[in-house]
């Protein structure tokens, strides 16, 4: 046994580059997979932590039947009636991303854990004077304290959430006299009905944000899995070569008395030891990848969903154990074909290294049929399926089907090239290229997937960017935006600005539930600024007239699609329903939103502060006006924002949002390049019997090497050509199916020829770099090595 194992392991000592490729492939595959899983685990932990900041996700609540706030008087009445309830005020602090949670520590139910309130001293501090605002240190660092109570930090709080006294929260959120909901203490409650308009709601079994972000995490997982699969191609290539090179030794070991079962056990043991070592390396690398990507992922989640995720990574035992498990399972999967061959290895058959390629060629046709079936399934799912499941299912079938079809297509194309070729050398070039396809098929499939993912995701992001920039130009039509600190200051500002601007356009907003989800209502003045610029997707005739007359409202695309609304459908709001008269695009906003006349908004939400204004002014005078506003009114930084700054800020958020996608794209392409290197190195060792006769018949090694290089570039170019339509279909699925199901908006697809040409160039460059080592090796190979092909003796 020991002798057998040492014989097997001696192979790796004699082929250290092969061992390095195997370990590198597996380590990279594990790294990207476990890195993505670590990010997902961290994000989900953040969601849970945000939902459970008070343990309130486990408590029953009393809420208003219409989804609006609960009057504070009703809370007082309930307490007097013997109800053990505690008030909570929840909302987003205006002009920030901070989720504010106001509580009353004295009535908080016993089961609710309030992180900062661990002792009497803390409680006194919490309730003292102007109150305290408790924040995660990371959140506190990025917050301007203007108008906020004294800040206290506590790492136990989730990022993006501030905890304070209920009275302070009411003041900060403009909810004086109103509460968001009441927490019900576990245990007996009065056996009396609740006052009219209030209902009891059972605890949630999952958080809204977790459900909302599922598609994003699925997306990341899919990318991680793609990278893992590409990495396994490298592993498969290295193990396949090792098997071929050890075929004679394996047969000898069998002949010397090792049973097939024992030999199989030894090979499995060897593989698992290697997988364990590579897996642990991969997990270490995965941690680094996750730590590097997490800030960008956090930015994406904040930008797209308004979800807060901590920017630091913690090590979870489940995560690294799962990573090791994936490394082991992946290795066994990649080695499956070789293990099967080992099991069926005939004891006396002559060693035939090329038989491997020939058998692969036969199985490629079967693989092509399976690929075509999967493409048919993808077409069916995308044409007739609905929702995110069908979208991702269709995507998976499309990508796998196309990858499976690639080698047979390449065999057909190279066969056609050979038939059309004139001249012995060109004919041999095509025929030899055709023969290389089975050996390179896995690497080429990996390259196809990586390129298609790059084209697809790149086209999606570029389309998004183009649309987003155009949309920003329309939405941010005012030259300046100003925010007052109080209603009194706002009135003074309006009076001061009237003679100095072309128009002062108040921007009113109020939070209210829309179809059971937290939403926003905006009030905008009827003005050509909006009539001429606002991007509408659908509208009834005279939509702006109807809005101005208070006869209807507009909804954003996400609400329109999520609730399958039609023009004319009614939207329930405090003060009665209003019909939908228009739909506008609202990229990047995770919440449902409606838009109505300011008068209609004030009638329904009378406490809405009138603090923000859009100012129309000659762009040349905008800078001077902004300076005058700051000088005359002493407005703080950020209270006056010009259009260009706001656009730049929005674009910055956008770019960060997709930075993680770009990083994963580059990593996947890098692994595909490595897969090419591994396969070409593998083949260069097996190719000598095919190259040597041609050399003997009068071709120089240099010329043979150049032909080999051209062959690699040709296969990469053909693969890139196949990746182009695949990537564009992928982009279409992402834009028209997955995006709509995941985010609620649809983007027009735009193809950027320059980007595609650049990617084609990168593919050729990657293939060229990958092919360089084997080609140089062939160009410099010693004649003695080639002669060994012919000579059995000297």
């Amino acid at each position: 046994m020991r002798a057998g194992l040492s014989a097997l392991l001696s192979h790796w000592l004699r082929h250290p580059v092969q061992l390095a490729m195997l370990m590198l492939g597996l380590a990279l595959a594990t790294a990207l997979w476990s890195g993505v899983q670590a990010i997902n685990a961290e994000a989900r932990a953040s969601y849970d932590s945000a939902a459970a900041v008070l343990g309130q996700n486990r408590m029953e609540r009393i809420v208003s039947q219409d989804g609006g706030p609960v009057a504070q008087d009703l809370y007082v009445a309930l307490r007097r009636d013997g109800w053990k309830v505690s008030p909570v005020v929840e909302g987003r602090l205006p002009a920030t991303d901070l989720r504010l949670l106001g509580i009353d520590p004295l009535t908080l139910p016993a089961g609710a854990t309030s992180v900062p309130l661990r002792g009497g001293a803390d409680l006194a501090d919490f309730l003292s004077g102007g109150g305290r605002l408790y924040l995660n240190p990371e959140t506190a660092a990025g917050l301007r304290p203007d108008g906020l109570p004294a800040l206290r930090t506590d790492p136990g709080l989730p990022p993006g959430t501030g905890l304070t006294d209920v009275g302070v929260a009411q003041r900060l959120l403009g909810m004086e006299g109103r509460l968001s909901y009441l927490l019900v203490s576990p245990g007996a409650q009065p056996d009396r009905p609740l006052p009219q308009g209030l209902v009891r709601r059972a605890p949630d079994d999952g958080t809204d944000i977790a459900r909302l972000t599922d598609s994003f995490h699925l997306n990341l997982t899919a990318f991680g899995f793609l990278a893992f699969a590409v990495g396994l191609f490298i592993v498969n290539s290295a193990i396949g070569l090792a098997f071929e090179q050890r075929r004679a030794m394996l047969r000898t070991l069998r002949a010397l008395g090792l049973s097939a079962r024992t030999l199989m056990g030894l090979v499995l043991l060897e593989l698992l030891v290697l997988a364990l070592a590579a897996g642990m390396t991969g997990i270490g690398l995965g941690y680094l990848v996750a730590a590097a990507l997490l800030p960008d992922v956090a930015a994406t989640l904040r930008g797209l969903y308004g979800a807060e995720v901590t920017g630091t990574l913690s090590l979870r035992p489940g995560w690294w154990l799962a990573g090791l498990g994936m490394a082991m399972a992946g290795t066994l999967l990649a080695a499956g074909q070789s293990l099967w061959r080992l099991w069926h290895l005939p004891l006396l058959a002559p060693a035939q290294p090329r038989a491997w390629a020939r058998a692969s060629a036969r199985s490629l046709w079967r693989q092509g049929v399976a690929g075509a079936a999967l493409l048919g399934l993808a077409a069916g799912l995308l044409a007739f399926g609905t929702g995110l499941g069908a979208g991702f299912g269709g995507l998976a079938a499309l990508l796998i089907g196309a990858a499976l079809c690639l080698p047979p297509v390449l065999i057909l194309v190279t066969g056609l090239g050979g038939r059309m070729a004139r001249g012995a050398l060109v004919q041999w070039f095509w025929a030899d290229t055709r023969q290389q396809v089975p050996g390179l098929s896995l690497a080429l499939m990996a390259l196809l997937l990586a390129l298609a993912a790059n084209i697809g995701v790149g086209t999606m992001v570029s389309s998004f960017r183009q649309t987003f920039v155009g949309w920003l130009d329309q939405r941010l039509a005012s030259e300046l935006y100003v925010t007052a600190r109080s209603a009194q200051e706002a009135r003074r500002l309006e009076a001061w600005l009237a003679p100095r601007t072309d128009a002062v356009l108040p921007i009113l907003s109020a939070g209210t539930p829309l179809f059971g989800r937290p939403g926003e209502v905006y009030g905008i003045t009827d003005h050509p600024t909006y009539r001429d610029n606002w991007p509408l997707l659908a509208a009834l005739p005279d939509v702006w007239g109807r809005i101005a007359a208070g006869q209807g409202l507009m909804v954003n695309e996400q609400l329109y699609r999520a609730e399958a609304l039609a023009l004319g459908d009614a939207v329930d709001l405090p003060g009665g329903p209003l019909p939908v008269v228009g739909v506008y695009s609202d990229y990047g906003n995770p919440r449902p939103q409606v838009l109505m006349a300011p008068e209609a908004l004030m009638a329904r939400f009378p406490d809405t502060p009138r603090l923000r204004f859009g100012l129309r002014v000659d762009p040349d005078r905008a800078g001077a006006l902004a300076a005058a506003l700051v000088a005359d009114f002493g407005l703080p930084d950020g209270a006056v924002v010009d259009q260009a700054t706001l656009k730049a800020l929005s674009l910055q958020v956008f770019e960060r949002t997709f930075a993680v996608t770009a990083a994963l794209n580059v990593l996947t392409l890098g692994i595909a390049g490595l897969a090419m290197v591994a396969s070409l190195l593998t083949l260069s060792g097996l190719r000598l019997p095919q190259v040597a006769p041609v050399w003997a018949m009068g071709l120089t090694r240099r010329r043979l090497a150049l032909l080999d290089f051209a062959r690699t570039l040709l296969l990469a170019a053909l693969t890139a050509m196949a990746a182009l339509p695949l990537g564009l279909v992928l982009a279409w699925v992402l834009l028209a199916v997955v995006n709509v199901a995941a985010f609620g908006w649809r983007l027009p697809m735009q193809v950027f020829a320059g980007d595609l040409a650049r990617l084609g160039g990168i593919a050729l460059l990657a293939a060229g770099v990958a092919g360089l080592v084997p080609v140089l090796r062939l160009a410099r190979i010693a004649p003695a090595a080639l002669l060994r092909v012919f000579a059995n003796e000297r």
């Binding site: 004919q427 025929a431 030899d432 023969q435 003997a696 009068g698 120089t700 080639l786 012919f790 000579a791």
Partner: protein, 218 residues
């Protein structure tokens, strides 16, 4: 003289130190003649053949082929000679697996720019390959593969045919038939033949016979 080897020495580096495989070899071969090279395993027969073809370089001495000193000629010159002047028949056949029989037969002639379809067709007929033209090497028996290899070499009408145990992988009857063919065709084309063989019986059928022992001609 078509091929001349003068005081040729070739040494290989091995784990146990340098190993001299050819030690002061002198040999000459005229056009239209045949020479059998015999000797024990490891005596240097294949190495001598490789030096004659310009596949390898001598450490000392001079190898001259068709008036060109191979010892000093560069890689492109030696490749050109292999393409146009020399034809090799290997023990392992060494056909090009990605090409069918027809393409393999014509391959070297086309490389040399001397492809004559009528001559290739005649060779195919004489070698009994007409029904196998669409097959690939892996679909042929050993004897069939060796006939294709001989056809490939002769289709280019080389001045010098170098054959390294061309019948070594064949049974006696097939080997005899293949050698008959080769001798007849070499005679038809007026080429010189240098053939390595272990078999004294086959060696006796060639014009001359030289035996190598421990790197020297005996």
């Amino acid at each position: 003289m078509l091929l001349t080897l003068t005081d040729v020495t070739k040494t290989y580096a091995t784990g146990e130190g340098p190993l001299t495989v050819l030690d002061g070899i002198d040999l000459a071969l005229q056009a239209g003649t045949s020479l059998a090279l015999t000797g024990e395993s490891g005596s240097g027969k294949s190495t001598l053949l490789h030096l004659a073809a310009g596949l390898d370089l001598a450490d000392a001495g001079r190898v001259e082929l068709a008036g060109v000193n191979l010892t000093t000629a560069g890689d492109p010159v030696r490749a050109g000679l292999r393409r146009g002047t020399v034809g090799m028949v290997f023990q392992q056949f060494n056909l090009i697996p990605s090409l069918d029989v027809a393409a393999n037969l014509a391959f070297q002639a086309r490389l040399a720019g001397r492809h004559d379809p009528a001559w290739t067709a005649r060779l195919a007929q004489v070698l009994g390959l007409c029904t196998l033209m669409g097959r690939y090497p892996e679909q042929l028996s050993g004897g069939q593969q060796q006939r294709v290899a001989i056809g490939r070499t002769l289709a280019a009408r080389p001045q010098l045919v170098l054959a390294d145990e061309p019948t070594g992988n064949l049974d006696e009857a097939t080997g005899d038939a293949v050698l008959d063919l080769m001798l007849r065709l070499v005679a038809d084309t007026g080429a010189a033949l240098l053939m390595v063989t272990h078999s004294p019986r086959l060696a006796a059928r060639l014009d001359r016979r030289v035996t190598l022992s421990a790197g020297r001609i005996t």
